[in-house]
């Protein structure tokens, strides 16, 4: 029994404890479980040593093909992560702590999350932020439910240009509520404003848009915000935080609720998670926000401190009347986001955003040089853009995968009739050499 992992007791200690309890065996402690209910089988393999375990994990990771040069985004982005992010978020006091229910011994987490909320507000131009949600898709769903509560209406209009996965998550969340979710098919990679105009009425709780959208197009939703507000409906925007180094903020556009995925802020790709969802809103809506919120206050001696606040919104108090069911959030990932933004800094984010756009524009200019390749012209773009190929994108992407290049996301499976469209993402990590190689290989692929 001694050599079992992480169960420290020696046989002698177990005996002492059993007699203190007054039972003869550990088994006796399980007597409350009716014997007929006891497990008949348990087929897990025998245990391994720490060394063997890590070895096995290495061989599993080695079953993935690594060292690919990636031009894919679709919600997750391959950005620089300063070394300090790992080292600081890797402080045991951060990652082995629980939710800061006891503020006096949790000021580290609490102050950091307060600073995180501040960063999100300043980045998005909103008034209030919570301390994180699960991811970008669930954040869209939470925002929609928030709008339903605020307006007391039951229709959500979703721009078809919003990330298809986020749209699916939103539909799953609302699936069993009597809420109508209406999707508007994109027009040239942009929101079909005409069709939207026809749908906007007093039954609409909110309109959900994304900027830059799934096609990479950058839009200005200021006018839309006014339209929506005229009907006492809300405008929800999902945004890509890195782009806010450059792009107009949701706040500036008059957006009511801003959401997004925070992976690009210092969180590794890690095959999809964990990242974090953020949600920020106008001050008026704070009591309708989902999840935890950190607030500033003082102790008896007037010393500044931070606490979980407005908990009367949350499940552990309001139970089924809570604004959301969320309990554990993605705190450590949000902390990474804060450290990332603090490390890169105010001007650094501007520079990084600009570099993303510069590299994407360079790639765009090179790709359109390929015979038969054209680019979606309808709108400006940030670090993602859509190109039309002379043949189905699926085959081209598959061909380039064999050359260790992930060329982009073919739109065919997400939008009917877009089989020849490819969304290409270029972050600051992609060198000119990599871009030129993408162009060369893509030319080879389309010209055969």
């Amino acid at each position: 029994m001694n050599d079992s992992h992480y169960c420290p007791h020696t046989p002698e200690e177990i005996q002492e404890m059993l007699s203190a309890i007054g039972v003869a065996s550990v088994e006796e402690l399980f007597s409350p479980i009716p014997s007929e209910l006891r497990a008949k089988t348990f087929n897990l393999p025998p245990g391994l040593s720490e060394f063997e375990t890590f070895d096995k994990m290495k061989s599993i990771a080695a079953d993935n093909r690594g060292g690919m040069s990636g031009f894919v985004g679709g919600g997750f982005y391959d950005h620089i992560i300063p070394a300090a992010v790992d080292h600081l978020s890797g402080r045991a006091e951060f990652y082995t702590a629980y939710t800061p229910y006891q503020p006096e011994c949790s000021q580290g987490t609490l102050q950091a999350l307060f600073e995180y909320q501040t960063a999100i507000c300043r980045l998005t131009g909103m008034d209030v932020s919570n301390a994180s949600l699960y991811d970008g898709g669930t954040a869209c769903a939470e925002a929609a439910m928030m709008a339903l509560r605020i307006t007391g209406r039951n229709k959500i209009i979703v721009d078809g240009c919003v990330n298809p996965f986020s749209r699916q998550v939103l539909k799953t969340y609302l699936y069993n509520l009597d809420v109508e979710v209406v999707e508007i098919a994109p027009l040239d990679g942009l929101l079909n404003r005409e069709e939207l105009a026809g749908m906007l009425d007093e039954s609409v709780a909110a309109v959900l848009v994304q900027n830059p959208n799934f096609f990479g197009c950058v839009d200005d939703f200021s006018a839309l915000a006014q339209q929506v507000h005229a009907l006492d409906a809300l405008l929800i925007a999902s945004v890509y935080p890195i782009s806010l180094g450059l792009l107009a903020t949701p706040g500036e556009m008059g957006v009511d609720i801003t959401v997004g995925d925070g992976q690009s802020l210092g969180n590794p790709l890690s095959f999809g998670g964990p990242s974090f969802g953020f949600i920020a809103a106008r001050k008026a809506f704070i009591r309708n926000m989902p999840g935890r919120i950190i607030g500033e206050t003082v102790d008896k001696q007037g010393r500044r401190g931070f606490v979980l606040t407005l908990q009367a919104r949350e499940q552990h108090i309001k139970r089924h009347k809570a604004t959301s069911n969320i309990c554990s959030n993605q705190g450590l990932c949000a902390l990474r986001g804060l450290i990332f933004l603090s490390a890169i800094g105010r001007q650094g984010l501007v520079d990084m955003a600009r570099m993303n756009r510069d590299k994407a524009e360079y790639a765009k200019s090179q790709l359109v040089g390929i015979p038969g390749v054209t680019v979606l012209q309808s709108a400006a773009t940030f670090n993602e853009f859509t190109i039309f190929l002379p043949k189905p994108a699926d085959g081209v992407v598959a061909a380039l995968l064999r050359k260790d290049i992930i060329a982009g996301v073919p739109l065919g499976q997400y939008y009917q009739g877009s089989e020849n469209c490819l969304v290409v993402t270029v972050t600051e990590k992609r060198s000119r050499k990599e871009i030129d190689r993408l162009v060369k290989e893509l030319e080879v692929a389309v010209c055969n």
Binding site: H5, P8, H9, E13, I14, F30, P32, I33, F42, P45, G47, T53, K56, M57, A61, N64, I80, A84, A92, E93, Y95, T96, E104, S106, G108, Q111, Q117, R122, V128, Y134, D135, F165, Q168, T172, V218, D220, A248, L269, F271, G273, G295, E296, T297, D299, G305, V307, T309, H316, N325, Q330, L332, S342, G345, R346, Q347, R354, R357, D358, A380, I406
Partner: protein, 482 residues
Amino acid sequence: MQLIYEQSVNGRRGVRLPVSDVPAAAELPGNLLRRESAALPEVAELDLVRHFTNLSRRNYSLDTNFYPLGSCTMKYNAKVLENAAALFAPFHPMTALLPGGVELCQGSLGMLYDLGQMLADITGMDEVTTQPLAGAHGEMTGILLIAAYHASRGNKDKKKYVVVPDSSHGTNPASAAIAGYEIITVPTAPYGDMDIELFKKAMTDEVAAVMMTCPNTLGLFNPHIKEISDIAHSHDALMYYDGANLNAIMGKVKPGDVGFDVIHVNLHKTFGTPHGGGGPGSGPVGVKKALIPFLPQPRIVMNDDGQFLLEDQKTASIGRTANFFGNFSVMAKAYAYIIMLGREGLIRVSEQAVLNANYIKERLKTYYDLPYDMTCMHECVFSASKQLEHGVHAIDVAKFLIDKGYHPPTVYFPLIVKEAIMIEPTETESKATLDAFIDVMIEAAITAETNPHLLHDAPVTTPVGRLDETKAAREQNVCCIG
């Protein structure tokens, strides 16, 4: 401590970025540009490092001392798990969704598949989805699966209610409500479990599901669990198992064997992944055969030649519950944990978790009122009612413990126990640690009688004392201005 924003100096630069190797692009039209850059911190890297290092030092954590937070399973987070998860940092999830992409991700997909298989064995379920991002997310996913099941049998409108015991965790009713159901709450009987008679009364054919955790949040295993699920099934209601307390029963009981149809597992509790100061967690959901068609897409399946594929036809699936494959690196840690401990190891985990909880229960029950005095599983719930006679509340005991260098037990939950003190030691604590904690708990009980003010004034050793929560809620300073 200063906020990082208060340390900013205009024009100070942090981490340096590469110089661009491409020409500058034309400026975007003005209406698309933000008017001024976001007022993010402007600090040197050294000041950044000191800020967050010192912030971390203001946290109590599992790695600094015992963390007996009931219902949270604060067990040791093995360091090798962190190293293992880091191996997967570079892999982009979109790769798997590209044409021919799965071939490049056989390692990741295979690991998720195997994890599902192992969790199915542990819980007695037939298939597991690893998409849900936390326990509550799993609960909502599970209830939506149940809704889809009922809908598929033409009972969408008929099924209106979800039944929960009043001892249930707040996420249970909250998740059911979010999933579109009304809640029926059944009180707890003096014997510490859901009152079976009241439960029978509550059950009608309009009930879609019964959500329970067993052992429940009092740490008690419900001997009538089978009877309860039979009753539920007789009303065509499905049984949902909140797996947050799974640490008590691995290898001993399988929820699937006692009538549960759906379960979520908190990998960040039972399977040793760190809590990160609030998250991330991971809440895979297991189901019985009948519910497999409704599982979230894409589903990871294995073909005959052992290759892992993604199944994503628009079937009866409830769709996506998260953008990608769940909190992958959390699952990598849990996977490593399970293969490391193995069959015997996990059985021992549950045995010693239960041993530790009962040891604390017996040693402390003469000092603290034990509302439900019976053999507990992985946790025990005391009440500070004796101390209350001296004007000392559970929260005062909690703050006293902080001054003594311990993280307090859970004191706001379960709601059904007044002045609850909910202690979950977990299996990873040594006897010496338990004994030292017990001594301090006894000291607290005695001090409550002799010097109650010491508990009222606690904590005094922390960077801040008790904080004014009303002020926080009133002023709503949730973002630093300027």
